[in-house]
């Protein structure tokens, strides 16, 4: 089986919903023991997602969203509103290397699990606290879903159609999963630092700032030149034509990106449009960029008579970047992603075996990362309270009766 990169690292995980669980999944799949602290009294909102495998009222273990974001983790249930519950959580934390949360400001402190409180007991602890706006600053209390954070960060204001100038939100509940891809790096850097120096630390992670570090073009356009970038449509400075074009079929589109004069000539050749090739104003990037709306119309007229697959294959065979605009069903059945094993069967005790999206990385020396199903609610209570904390079966039953382990 081979060794997994993060073996021996334990994480007490208080995050929930989307971006936190995806971030921690990177760690659990790569061998960290991630223990989710949950509760039946306030289950992760994805556990109660109305759609489930059976299509009917299905309890807390059958939601696709939860199961695909939490595989490879362990789960225990604690009522954090009780004093005994807080004590149990603290004992798990003290047996862990990293603590993660995505609570509103001050919640971990109320549980007695804030960084300042924990480091007195365990100086080498790493606390990763992810929040929409970060742990300090005058608007630290602003709360909301990730999808609204792109509003504050300015990404919504540069996303949208050029003609109406309206700000827009992005697909894929952006930026939750982008932050889920990006923030594990921040945690891993802290773990690396600890391995080298023995020092723990507090990691105050702001989703809003994560988004801002990914739009430097617009930020520096303002800080250097005072110009405010608006919605860009599909415009790309160094490419034209560049956009999505209507194809045959119901709401079918193909994306095309022409990066050089050579590619433009290729496009004209394979589409049989000598007339475009002869047009001098299209011969260089400046000309194509200036006439891009006209070009978009011409190319759209050509694509709409063809299928997405036909256009993609024709242009790619000529060395021009093109590809289908796919919805999530098409992504799930895409032959390239399947060939790259981006969906693998994971057996789950309640839903059976289902393909699940994996982590998008291939490590040549880690051929078998840890892909086991998401925890049923409270599935690892015996392990966590018995084995890890050394409590007797009687004590555990007692705490269950007292609604502490629940």
């Amino acid at each position: 089986m081979g060794r997994l990169p993060l073996e021996g690292i334990r994480v007490a995980d208080f995050t929930w919903a989307l971006s936190g669980p995806y971030a921690l999944q990177w760690l659990s799949v790569m061998g960290a023991e991630v223990i989710r602290i949950e509760s039946t009294l306030r289950p992760d909102i994805l556990r109660t997602n109305p759609f489930a495998a059976t299509g009917v009222e299905a309890g807390l273990n059958q939601a696709a969203g939860y199961n695909c974001l939490n595989y490879a983790k362990k789960g225990c249930t604690i009522n954090l509103q009780t004093a005994k519950g807080k004590e149990l959580a603290k004992r798990i934390v003290l047996k862990s290397d990293v603590v993660t949360d995505s609570f509103a400001h001050g919640v971990m402190e109320r549980y007695g699990l804030g960084y300042e409180q924990l480091r007195k007991m365990k100086p080498e602890i790493i606390v990763f606290s992810k929040n929409t706006m970060g742990a300090y600053g005058r608007e630290k209390h602003l709360f909301g879903w990730g999808t609204a954070v792109i509003s504050y960060a300015g990404l919504a204001s540069i996303t949208g159609y050029e003609d109406d100038g309206l700000p827009q939100m992005m697909g894929g509940t952006w930026p939750d999963y982008t932050i889920g891809t990006y923030s594990p790096f921040a945690i891993l850097a802290a773990i690396y630092h600890k391995k080298k120096t023995g020092q723990g630390m507090y990691v105050d992670y702001s989703m809003c700032e994560g988004v801002l570090t990914m739009i430097p073009e617009a930020v520096l356009e303002y800080t250097m030149n005072g110009r405010v970038t608006g919605p860009q449509g599909n415009k790309e400075e160094l490419m034209a034509p560049h956009g999505t074009y209507r194809c045959m079929g119901d709401d079918k589109w193909v994306a095309i990106a022409v990066a050089s004069d050579g590619e433009w000539k290729q496009l004209c050749k394979v589409t049989g449009h000598d007339d475009w090739l002869r047009e001098e104003k299209y011969a260089d990037l400046y000309g194509r960029q200036t006439s891009r709306h006209e070009l978009d119309r011409l190319i759209g007229e050509w694509t709409k008579e063809r299928t997405v697959r036909e256009v993609t294959e024709l242009l790619q065979s000529a060395g021009v970047a093109a590809g289908p605009v796919q919805n999530s069903d098409e992504v799930a059945t895409d032959p390239h992603l399947i060939a790259r094993e981006q969906f693998i069967e994971i057996v789950h005790p309640e839903t059976g075996s289902k393909p699940m999206p994996v982590l998008p990385v291939k490590l040549s020396k880690v051929p078998h990362p840890n892909y086991v199903s998401a925890p049923l609610i409270g599935e690892h209570n015996d392990y966590v309270f018995g084995e890890l904390l050394g409590m007797s079966g009687q004590e555990i039953v007692q705490l269950m009766e007292e609604n502490v382990i629940v």
Partner: protein
């Protein structure tokens, strides 16, 4: 900056062009790693030609995107297509921990720089290959771009999240280069996994990162839903029922908010001064709100349009409704909250003077993150790297320059 902290003992060689490899290396360099960036002699990185250009002067040493992406790096020009250039690269790799590049598999084969070659030189080396489609699979040799990755990975289809007339409004990329930046983040996270693996086993490895995989993985609940039997919705407002996060017009711009769950819905109707809506038979329940979502959204939009955005989101937040302003870029740069957090950092560069850049998304309690030096001029550190480290004499450097190696 502590001498032995962060990632300061890691040495990275970057053969990167434009965003993905450069941002991956920047993330590590800003945490202390040494990054030697290799650029094509005379031409340099494409980001140098992208802009935004300081004061609108198209100087390859004053491109905002390039300057942001290449802080804390040593800049070396090297023609890796020449035999001598390749020899110099392999000498650099002998002493490096990480080699990150974003050339296509075909280009790397033509250059003779496959993982099989570099591991012979340094078996402990971690080689991170960032491409649009990965090292294998049917689309391996397809040409890609930011837009193509967002399209094939499923995010463009949902951008904007809905449109009134799907046949007229094509899918969009997000503002800037969201696929390239997210791919870089995945590469940085994955490279750290390989670093941890090497701490356990002392062996290097090949890290294969594909943009299409990374973007497709962001859709995980949607693709998991597909495997559980639930199909994707289309792009019409009808498939976006209920009061999920949306952007609303205010008297002075836009704000985003939503009330998708019962608690937030009750808070919203109170905030709107319409408490009787909570018991209205039409939309007192989740199902009702889904069915009459359009009408409801219209009424909410009418209400929101009467307020300035700051008053609106502050009022909604005080009633515990998730809400944010839709900031334009000038507004987010002027954010007092981000100023409290010291998010934007001022970087002094000889060509631009002091300019504010986005900082980092995590604030560490240990001083491991920082901008130690601005982006290099083309070939700025040739002598430092090639003479001082590899021992080439002044005469040899002169000759290499004459012959186009550096």
């Amino acid at each position: 900056m502590v001498a032995d902290g962060g990632l300061s003992d890691l040495k990275i060689v970057e053969l990167g062009n434009f965003i993905s490899a450069a941002f991956c290396a920047k993330l590590m360099g800003d945490l202390g790693a040494e990054v030697i960036k290799l650029e094509e002699p005379g031409r340099g990185d494409d980001a140098r030609r992208y802009g935004p250009f300081c004061k609108d002067v198209p100087d390859p040493e004053a491109s905002g995107l390039f300057l942001y992406l290449n802080t804390n790096k040593l800049g070396v020009t090297l023609n890796v297509k020449s035999a001598t250039g390749k020899k110099v690269l392999l000498e650099l790799l002998k002493d490096a921990d990480i080699f990150v590049h974003n050339k296509s598999p075909k280009e790397m084969e033509e250059l003779g720089l496959t993982y099989d070659v570099v591991k012979e030189v340094n078996p402990r080396l971690i080689m991170t290959s960032i491409t649009y489609f990965g090292q294998y699979g049917p689309y391996r040799d397809y040409k890609g771009s930011d837009l193509i990755a967002l399209s094939m990975g499923g995010v463009a289809y949902g951008t904007p999240i809905m449109v009134e007339e799907p046949e007229k409004s094509g899918p969009l990329k997000g503002g800037g280069h969201q696929a390239d930046f997210t791919t870089a983040a995945a590469a940085a996270t994955s490279t750290m996994m390989a670093v941890f693996h090497r701490m356990l086993t002392d062996e290097g490895q090949h890290v294969d990162i594909s943009s299409m995989d990374v973007i497709a993985a962001l859709l995980r609940p949607a693709t998991a839903n597909y495997f559980y039997g639930k199909m994707a919705g289309d792009r019409t407002p009808a498939s976006r029922t209920g009061l999920g996060t949306s952007i609303y017009q205010t008297t002075d711009g836009f704000a985003s908010f939503g009330a998708s769950n019962d608690g937030h819905w009750l808070n919203l109707v109170k905030a709107m001064g319409e408490p009787e809506w909570a018991t209205n038979p039409l939309f007192g329940t989740r199902e009702g709100r889904a069915e009459f979502g359009d009408a409801l959204k219209g009424m909410v939009a009418d209400w929101a349009s009467a307020y300035p955005k700051k008053e609106l989101y502050t009022h909604l937040q005080s009633h515990h409704v998730p809400s944010f302003p839709v900031n334009k870029i000038d507004e987010v740069v002027a954010s007092e909250h981000l100023d409290d957090r010291g998010f934007f950092v001022e970087v002094d560069h000889p060509k631009t003077g002091k300019v504010k850049y986005p900082g980092y998304s995590a604030r560490y309690s240990e001083p491991i993150w920082g901008i130690r030096s601005p982006a290099p001029f083309l070939g700025q550190h040739n002598e430092e790297v090639l003479s001082k480290r590899l021992g080439y004499t002044k005469e040899e450097l002169v000759q290499m320059r004459q012959l186009g190696v550096i």
